[in-house]
């Protein structure tokens, strides 16, 4: 570990020295790029010298820095959807240039933007990256009228789910708990409301999203399949505004405005579902007082303290509530808070320091009713809390070299479960032991453009995880693979004492080679380690599936991924295209013995298994950003498998979330200035399933049995669905702008199977049948009125 740190320092020094040697006649132009109308910082804006490959892009905070030889330069700021601006600067000293770009009408913007845009996929070093801004996400047809970040990313290549309404998504054959979901850099553990139907991210507060599926920059770690980086809006710092929507499921309202014009602003956005309110008059008896709703609140303020310092405070609070009267009450939700400080040390060294807090918790409470002979209560609570700090530095050495480095630290507390059972005066508690852990990382990453053709970004991440006291280590005897391990004993550890620790070096590299001005090839390798898992053996995770750290019994998961791709940008930016292949090998994926007991089980680690995994595939993606018709087509051909000792005859078996083919067509067309429609068609191979080929009669039960003993040996029927939506803008008044969105989900009412299970016919138990469960079996209309003022 020490040697590695020294090595990193050494490398850094060499690079810094190299820089100073070359930097004599060079000067740096740097600054922030913002939207002219609302002051939002703009991410991924191209800054470059037209006609050359010299250039850069703004970072997640809208900052850029470009070092050029002294002299006159023409510098262009451009981005699709914005009017490009060109400045002529005479560099004789370092220069600060903050730029405001104005939005352009997309239809009128068929004019080819001259110059090479740095953010285009052929010009960036990243592979396996999908960027979407909220305007693109809002074009997709919705489920019940609600714009949804998570549903949108499921239309991208390499992303799928086990089915409609699933609470997680799977990226490149990875498990659902291998995605790192960040909201303004704070991890989000539960990304959906209503068990999976709606995402927790309020579209009115989201600015843009990045989904990284491979070739991870060294900055990212802790999860192995993907990073979904969601950035919130800063809030309009020019004028006060209100946006909102009224739909058939829930309504939204967002307020934003300057605190001090140009200097500081706020945004606060809330949503609440009101199905329960609408249902109320119809509920009687046991159904009276049914609670069923969710809400979330997203807020952010930012202060530009001075030229070189900005502060951002953002928070999210969301909750789902289900219950009947007093007898059953369940609620769960995520809270996050992040405080960020952007500091410009000098025109080439930028720092973002993020500190964050995130908590996911759930609570279940059951009470007996008045007919019970005794007063009974059962309650159960669980949570996971993280406190994190991550200073991240970007050093813009010169136009061709950029360094990213930083340190990350997270303190975790896990409370797997505390329950109280009470009957009259008697009380019992079961408390599963709390767990604590520290995760740390150190990284350095060098982005190097060697001339027009070649670029490489390589880096190293050193990550470590300590499972620490106060806590209890459990010990188990080795046993036949696939059966419950015999518990031997425990050992208590004092606060701060290490129970188990793991360290990994995670090399990352991605390279680009430009074939010509319109196409490039890229390749990447990344290794990543994951130190925590979600304990879930159901088709889709439930809100009560808890997270658990690696320990003396559970090893970290390690994933290696290689990816290579071809990228093409049609002349005039008419469309862009990419074809990527990937191969992933995974060690120590979490698995479960047959009939594992995951609920309030103190000896849960005795039921866990370590699997080997592999996934590979081909992803094709065509995207059209300009013109009256926009959208994308994505196709993925892939396989995801695992091999777990003790399961499925110890052979490789296909994962539950494997889809051989996955095709998405997303299209949106503007009919005229007021009306537009969009369509989304998806097709995916059915998910694998384990079917019973026999039954055994036992105590009047017919128990399904799979005599092949192979898992996921069948596939459900293919999944396909068409969604449509139509948007009509009302008269766009000076202040008030309104639009109606009518959406139809599952237009041809397909009954896509979510699972197939086996049962005795309830009316005639002598009949045994296979039953297809479709989460959505009919067409679902939605209507929303959105307004802006």
């Amino acid at each position: 570990m020490k040697t590695t740190a020294r090595l990193l320092m050494h490398l850094l020094l060499v690079l810094l020295a190299a820089n100073s040697a070359f930097a004599q006649q060079r000067f740096t132009i740097s600054g922030y790029v913002k939207d002219e109308k609302n002051g939002e910082s703009l991410i991924g804006i191209s800054i470059g010298k037209p006609g050359t490959s010299v250039g850069t892009v703004t970072n997640e905070y809208g900052f850029y820095s470009l070092t050029l030889p002294a002299g006159k330069h023409e510098i262009q700021f451009s981005y699709i959807g914005y009017q490009a601006q060109t400045f002529t600067v005479d560099l004789s000293a370092n220069k600060r240039l903050d730029v405001k770009l104005g939005q352009s009408d997309r239809q009128l913007n068929e004019v080819v933007i001259s110059g090479k845009q740095q953010e285009k996929n052929i010009n960036t070093l990243n592979t396996s990256l999908n960027k979407l801004d909220i305007a693109e996400i809002k074009k997709l047809p919705t489920f019940m009228g609600e714009v949804d970040v998570i549903r949108t990313i499921q239309t991208l290549p390499g992303v799928n789910t086990v089915g409609e309404g699933a609470a997680s998504f799977n990226v490149r054959g990875g498990n659902g708990d291998e995605n790192l979901i960040l909201l303004d850099e704070a991890p989000v553990y539960n990304s959906t409301h209503m068990l999976g139907f709606f995402s927790v991210f309020n579209p009115d507060a989201v600015k843009n999203i990045n989904l990284i599926k491979g070739g991870f920059p060294a900055e990212y770690g802790g999860r192995t399949a993907s990073v979904l980086d969601i950035r919130m809006k800063d809030g309009n710092n020019q004028k006060f505004g209100m946006t909102g929507g009224i739909g058939n499921i829930f309504s939204r309202l967002a307020l934003e405005g300057p605190i001090q014009k140009d200097k500081s602003s706020f945004i606060i956005a809330g949503r609440r579902s009101y199905m329960d309110v609408l249902m109320k008059p119809f509920l009687k008896g046991d159904m009276k007082d049914t609670k069923l709703y969710f809400y979330d609140l997203t807020a952010k303020v930012n202060f530009q303290l001075n030229k070189n310092n900005s502060l951002f405070v953002s928070g999210y609070f969301g909750r789902d509530v289900f219950g009947f009267g007093k007898e059953a009450n369940m609620n769960w939700g995520n809270n996050t808070a992040s405080l960020r400080w952007n500091h410009i040390f000098n025109n080439r060294l930028f720092m973002n320091l993020t500190t964050y807090y995130t908590k996911y918790d759930y609570s279940l409470k059951f009470l007996s009713d008045e007919k019970s002979t005794s007063s009974q209560e059962f309650s159960w609570k669980s949570n996971i809390i993280n406190y994190g700090v991550k200073p991240a530095f970007t050093y813009y050495l010169n136009a061709n070299n950029t360094l990213h480095f930083g340190v990350q630290g997270t303190y975790y507390t896990f409370r797997p479960g505390r329950s109280l059972a009470r009957q009259d005066e008697q009380e019992f508690n079961i408390n599963l032991k709390d767990k604590n852990a520290l995760e740390g990382a150190l990284y350095l990453d060098h982005e190097w453009k060697a001339g027009n053709k070649f670029g490489v970004q390589y880096g190293l991440r050193l990550s470590g995880f300590q499972y620490i006291g106060k806590g209890t280590a459990y010990y188990y005897a080795d046993t036949v693979a696939g059966t419950r391990k015999r518990f031997l004993g425990t050992k208590d550890y004092e606060r701060g004492k290490t129970i188990a620790d793991y360290y990994f070096l995670e090399p990352r590299i991605s390279a680009r080679y430009a074939i010509n001005s319109s196409s490039a090839i890229k390749a990447a390798f990344s290794r990543s380690a994951q130190y925590m898992h979600q304990l879930s053996n159901t088709a889709s995770p439930t809100p009560v599936d808890i997270w658990t750290p690696v320990s003396n019994n559970v090893k970290p998961q390690l994933t290696d991924q290689v990816t290579a791709g071809y990228f093409y940008n049609a002349p005039g930016d008419k469309f862009e295209l990419s074809a990527e292949v990937f191969y992933k090998s995974m060690q120590d994926q979490l698995d479960f013995i047959d009939n594992a007991d995951l609920d309030l089980n103190e000896y849960i680690e005795g039921d866990l298994l370590a699997a080997k995994g592999r996934a590979y595939g081909l992803e094709l993606y065509v995207k059209k950003d300009i013109g009256a018709t926009t959208g994308w087509v994505s196709y993925t051909l892939s396989r995801s498998e695992r091999k777990t000792p003790g399961l499925s005859l110890n052979e490789w078996f296909i994962n539950r979330y494997d889809r051989t083919h996955n095709l998405n067509i997303v299209m949106s067309h503007e009919l005229n200035k007021r009306a537009s429609f969009s369509a989304n068609w998806m097709f995916a191979s059915g998910t694998p399933a384990t079917f019973a080929d026999a039954r055994l009669e036992f105590q009047d039960w017919d128990v399904p049995y799979n005599t092949t003993e192979k898992r996921n040996n069948y596939r459900l029927k293919p999944f396909h669905r068409l969604d449509l939506s139509f948007t009509y803008k009302g008269k766009q008044l000076k202040r008030w702008k309104g639009e109606w969105v009518v959406s139809l989900y599952n237009v041809y009412a397909r009954r896509n199977a979510y699972t197939v299970y086996f049962r005795q016919n309830p009316d005639d138990p002598s009949k045994k049948e296979a039953v297809r469960l479709s989460i959505i079996g009919s067409i679902i209309p939605g209507i929303t009125y959105n307004f802006k003022f």
Binding site: L195, G196, M275, M279, K284, D286, M287, T290, F322, L364, F366, D369, K371, T373, S374, F378, A421, Q423, F428, T538, A539, S540, T542, D594, N595, T690, F691, A692, D693, A694, R695, L696, E697, F698, W701, D702, V703, P704, Y705, N706, T707, R711, N712, Y714, R751, Y754, V756, Y757, R759, K767, K768, E769, A770, V771, R772, L773, I775, I776, G777, S778
Partner: protein, 291 residues
Amino acid sequence: MKRKFTAIALLFAAAGFTACEDTIDIDIPNGKTYTVVDAWITNVPGKQDIRITQTVPYTSSGSAPVVSDAKVTLTDITANKTYDFTFANGVYSHDPGVNRIGEIGHAYKLRVELKEGIFEAVDTIKRVPEVDSMAYDFKTKEESISNKEGFYARFYAKDIPGGTDYYWIRSTRNSATSAGRVEDIFAIDGSFAENISDGLNFIQPISEGITDYDTPFQAGENVTVAIRSCTKRSHTFLSQVQAQIDLGGLFAKILENVPTNLKNTDNNSQGRVLGWFGTSAITWSSIQMEH
């Protein structure tokens, strides 16, 4: 646990989501055939039966074929007595007349000689509490969670204090035997988990769990509830069986094979059978549904 998810599932249904289920035809090659031992010895006086059958393709209708050429013996290890079970009318049975085979606190060993080999399993009869009383409510369609009109029954009983007790509670309709099976509940002490309900009344989800909410009882029907004691191992097995016959829903687990406690006495033999040998003490009570 199951109840909790049922509650969530019901809420979902109530919310007007359009989840739907339909029966489909699936084409699966017939599986291998295994012999299945269904042996559950109780402390009820008189004849005790053991069934030995073969597995059949899942969707085949009708009863499983009976294996009639086995040699079955049961040993009361505690009392050092052996009972021979003889085959007649599709079952292997032993009739001690007015006496009983099963005694609380005794350990039993079942030995089954089959063409696959000789298999043995052991289990112990644990103590069981009495059913104190039963009651019911009539609910209209609107009043019921499941939207079904009918009688919703309850029973009252109390866990025996001291130690952890495992129970299998089965309700039946118009039948004291298991033929009219309605619901099975697997309790630990007075609730669903260890160390939280020793000596307590059975909690409401258990006492009210004896009605099938999709098919509540109707006037004139007779409801019987039987509490059977079990060992922890048998309880775990039964819970797994129940999980496998109840696999639907948004949070469906994948199909997993249930284990067996019948071990081949020849360690080197590949021969195996399915099924379970369990033992219980039983108490029961009945009530008739009247308006």
